[in-house]
Every structure is written in structure tokens, then in C-alpha cells.
């Protein structure tokens, strides 16, 4: 979709005066059946995931995989080297099942380390970040999204998107400064 001036349209966007107003608007957009839309706020709004119809984040699964990798790495460098690759007898203490508790601290630390890396990289990758340029930044009012602005954006890619319907919905939900955001 293009504007009369030839700009590619990214989305129809509106600003809301408060977090409760945005919350109610999100419920209306969800119920209208839109799929490719988002809300922007300076802080996470409690209950917004439900208002948008989003489920629980499955980032935790990635972290679980990270943790399993961490404990496996620790077990490999500890058990693998002690029992097979490089048995090192210190203080005359042999390797048998009784020494296993002495390996626990490093197993624990590496589990935490790998899980934390998994959480950090998962949050970036699942959010498509780093992404320094985004069409929504073309809207000058949007700078307030990191200060005190509350925004709702319906993307033009949404199969239900028509300019009339999106504008009407944003108006009905109390949106202000309704505008078309350009792709470029």
C-alpha cells in the first residue's frame, strides 16, 4: 500500500493518553481480529499480554536448553577428564563415586552461566534485536514511547488492514494523533 506521494505505508498508529486507555484499546483491537499489531509503552503494562491475546513467552524453554548444555559441559570437563582423558591424582585421592559431590559446585556454576547467556541472547533474537532502524521511528511523536507516550500500531501487512477500518478502530478506542507511518 502506498500513499498518494508514493511512500510505502508501514502502519496506522495512534497515541493514547494513559496506560489504562492503551490497555482498553488493545482489547478492542484484539477483539476486532487484527494479528499484526503492537503496542508501545515506556514500561511493561501489567496484563497487556492478555489484553493483546498473547500467550506466555516460551523464552523459558530456550533457557532450559541453555541450562542443560551448561550442566553437560561441566560434566564433560569434570567426569570426562577425571575418568578418561586426564586422571589427575591430587592428595592421593582416587576417583570413584564418592568424589562426585566435589564436582557439584562447578556443575552448578556452569548451569547458571549457560542459562544466563541463553536468556540474554534469546531475548535479543526472539525480539529481532538489535535493529537500529525501524519504520516506526519515522513518526516523530514516537520518541515519547520511551518517556511517557503510549502508542498502538496496526501494521499494513495485517490481512484485515484497510485504512478506513484501522482509522475508525483507533478513533473509537480513544486514540489521538492518528497517523499513517511510512515504511521509508
Amino acid at each position: 500500500m502506498r500513499t498518494p506521494y508514493g511512500h510505502e505505508v508501514y502502519a496506522m498508529a495512534a497515541e493514547y493518553p494513559s496506560a489504562p486507555a492503551l490497555y482498553e484499546a488493545a482489547k478492542m483491537v484484539r477483539d476486532a481480529g487484527f494479528k499484526r499489531w503492537d503496542v508501545h509503552s515506556p514500561f511493561p503494562i501489567h496484563g497487556m499480554d492478555d489484553a493483546m491475546g498473547l500467550g506466555k513467552s516460551w523464552l523459558s524453554a530456550v533457557v532450559l536448553i541453555g541450562g542443560i548444555l551448561g550442566i553437560s559441559t561441566a560434566m564433560f570437563i569434570e567426569f570426562g577428564s577425571s575418568w578418561g582423558l586426564y586422571p589427575l591424582i591430587v592428595h592421593g585421592k582416587p576417583y570413584d563415586w564418592k568424589v562426585v559431590p566435589a564436582f557439584f559446585p562447578i556443575m552448578f556454576e556452569l548451569t547458571v552461566l549457560f542459562s544466563a547467556f541463553a536468556a540474554f541472547f534469546a531475548v535479543l533474537i526472539m525480539n529481532g534485536l538489535p535493529r537500529p532502524h525501524h519504520p516506526i521511528f519515522n513518526w516523530d511523536r514516537f520518541a515519547r514511547a520511551s518517556n511517557d507516550g503510549f502508542f498502538l500500531v496496526i501494521e499494513a501487512r495485517d490481512p484485515r488492514f484497510t485504512e478506513v477500518e484501522a482509522r475508525e478502530l483507533l478513533e473509537r478506542s480513544g486514540g489521538q494523533h492518528i497517523t499513517i507511518v511510512h515504511e521509508d
Binding site: 489504562p20 503492537d38 552461566l113
Partner: protein, 486 residues
Amino acid sequence: MDDTPTAPDVIRGEAATTVDRPLARVPLVLNRRNFSWITERISGVVEDRAPRWWWVCFTITASIAMFGLFCLGYQISTGVGVWGNNVPVGWAWDITNFVFWIGIGHAGTLISAILYLLRQKWRTSINRSAEAMTLFAVMCAAIFPGIHVGRVWMAWYLAPIPNNYGIWQNFRSPLMWDVFAVSTYFTVSVLFWYTGLIPDLATLRDRATTKIKKFLFGVFACGWRGSNRNWRHYEMAYLLLAGLSTPLVLSVHSVVSFDFASSILPTWHTTIFPPYFVAGAIFGGFAMVLTLLIPARSIFKLHDIITPQHIDKMAKIILLTGSFVTYAYGMEFFVAWYSGNSWERFAFWNRILGPYWWYWWTGMLFCNVLSPQLFWFRWCRRNILVVYFVCMCVNAGMWFERFIIIVGGLHRDFLPSSWGLFIPTWVDIWTFIGTLGIFTSLFLLFIRFLPMIAMSEVKIVLPEADPHAHGPMDHHPVQAGGMERT
């Protein structure tokens, strides 16, 4: 709770929705500040020109830090002999400083992780600077075991790197556990801190006036745009990082205490050490948080964000952990007597009456046991001077405690013929003072270049951030109609 409500400060929404709570709470941000006030005030600290006092302080602390670095260079180029360490006291100020600094870091993680899991919303005002303090304290701590090994260029032997020297690590050694615990702790703290910073870096990016600032904040903000689809994953990641940091922080000082507890020396060989060290770390760390935040709060006029309520709560935590520490001190003496072990009994008599007696009477008894008792009184918790006095006592007392544990355990061991005292050299003293300079310099740089309070998190605790809020709002009047809960 002594949070008696005052009429204009009651959060109306909360009071109205929770009928079972007879008293409404005092708000965490005073004077009904709104979102943009928070952004302005906290970003302003970074965006305004550096005040003159900052340059004065930074010049002093950076000079001290440089002299500390000179001492490190001198020690590395000359050898560990420039310290006072010798038989029988082979671990002295170096390991004392290590334990001291790593302990200070623990308060930051406690605030950022454990208080988060416990849903203590007041943490939002202090968590950013406390986490920064954690990082800088762990950096200072990491210096000491590194140079203490003597040949610092061989420090890579600590890491399990495959090599052809026939060297492999002994994973059953507490010193090896320490390497993993401290390096994991630092790395996870950095990740947690940076994850928390991303939304605030986006705020600074959107406010940046120069191209360089816009570029740098833009790069580090990763293009964050506050989208709720992003917040969803972000909050989960934050929760999980908090959940991972919680056992991690408890493990770190436990592992540090294993360095001592797994030896056979009287006063070191005790099972109480892990919880005793963790409690002491949080105790000393909170004192350091207050030491840094009380001046910062006054200088940058953050009284509405870091309120007397925050200081009061931190003082209570100091009192609580101070009580743990007091109990541990008492239990050590009890067990020394109850064990019937003459070496153990001697070591504890020596602690209070031996050559280092005044360390115990001033450092442990006065600073760590007695001074926090002032915090039983509300008047003391609300009086900044008293709080600052107690924090200074605890800062010093916790250093003395580690010195007593380490040197006190070593200087008179089983053979009287090998007894000896530890006398610090100027290099010992200035290396420690140098790390104080490094720590304060890094903290001063931090408050100049990064938002020292987590803006996006403080905004959540404002009443108007609650989408289910009832009642009239001062800043953003909400139309009726959109008020029912889902």
C-alpha cells in the same frame, strides 16, 4: 510496619481495590511525580554538564586509583615479597580485600534478583546503582586473587584450557570452584545489568541531542522500541535472570567460604561458614549501597525517588543480616567451647585477647554487632547522619572481620615456634586504598554516563502505570468506561 499513611500520599487506586488491607501504603515515589518527571530528572543527571564537585571527586579518586595501579605494577614486576605476607601469615590483606570486595557485590544482586522475586517494588529505585556497584566491586575483588598467585602471567592456568604442558585443573579444589563461581557471578551480573539497561538506553537515545550520543546510545539500546511483544519476552528473560542470580549469589560467597572451611585450621574449619559469609556479604553490601546512594540522592535531588522509606527498609535489612552475623559470631565461640577442642578454644581466646584483640573489639564487636542495633529505633533509621554513621561502621567492620578470620586463623597455628604477626607494607596499604579509588572512580563514571536509576522500572510503581487503576488520576485523566477487569 511503621509506614503510617499520610493523607495526601495515599495511593487511591490501591486503597480502593484492596478492601482487606486496612491501611493504604505510602507511595514509593513521593509528591505524585509523573512519568516525564522521572525521565527528565534521571536523564538530566547524564545529560547536564558535569558539575564541579564531580570533577573534584573524580580527580581525587582517579589519582588514588592510578597510584593503586602503580602499586599493582610494582608488585607484579618485583614479586609478592613487596607485601608483608610471609610464614606463617601467607594470606593477609590480599585475600581479606578479595573477600571484602566480593562481599560488597552481593547486596547489588540481592536487590536486583532476590527482592525482585519477592516482589519488593521499592527495589526499583536502587537496583540499577546497586548492580553497578556489584560489577565494580567484583572487578576490584578479581584483582587480588589474580596478583596473589605471584606470577600473574600464569593466571590462565586457572582456566581449563587444553594445553601441552601436562597441566589440568583439579576440579575438586575449592580454589577452582572459586574461579568458576566468581567469573560466572561477574558475567551473569553484567548480563542482568545490561538487560535492565536496554529500555533506559533507548530513552537516552530518543533524547540525545548530538550525533555521537545518538549513535552510541542507539547501538547499545539495540533498537529497543518499547513494543509489548518485546516486553513479553523481556520480562520473562528478566524474571529468569533474577531466578538464576538468586542461587548464584548465595553460591558465590559460600564457595568463597569453602576456601577456608575445607582447610584444617582452627577458626577456619567450620560448617557455619557458608551462611555466615553470605549474611555478612549482604550486611556489608547494603552498607556500601547506602554509603553511595545517600550522597548521590542529595546531590542529584532524588529525594522523591529514593525516599526515607527506602533508606528505612535498607536499614532494616542491615539490622536483619547484622543479627545473622551476630548469631554466627556467638555460635563460633559456643562451638569452640562445646567442641572441647583445645586448639579451637585457644584460637578463640586468642581472637579476643591475643595480639589482634582490638580488631575484634572495635571491628567485630562494636562495628558489626553493636552499631546496627541502633536500627531497632525508627528515629535512627530515618536520621541520615545516624544511618551514615552505622554504614561507615559496617563498611570498616566487615573488612576487619575478614582480616580477623584470615590472619587471626594463621598467625598462631599449632606450633608456637612458628607463630608470627602480620605487618602490612606500604604496598599492601596502597593497593587496598587504590582499589577504593578504582571503585569510586568507576561509580562516578557510571553516574555520569548511564542512568543511575532504572527509569522504566520506577515508572511501573507509579499508580497511573496500573491499567486497572480506579479513581481519579492527576496526570492523565482517564475516561470512565474502560475500567472493568478482564
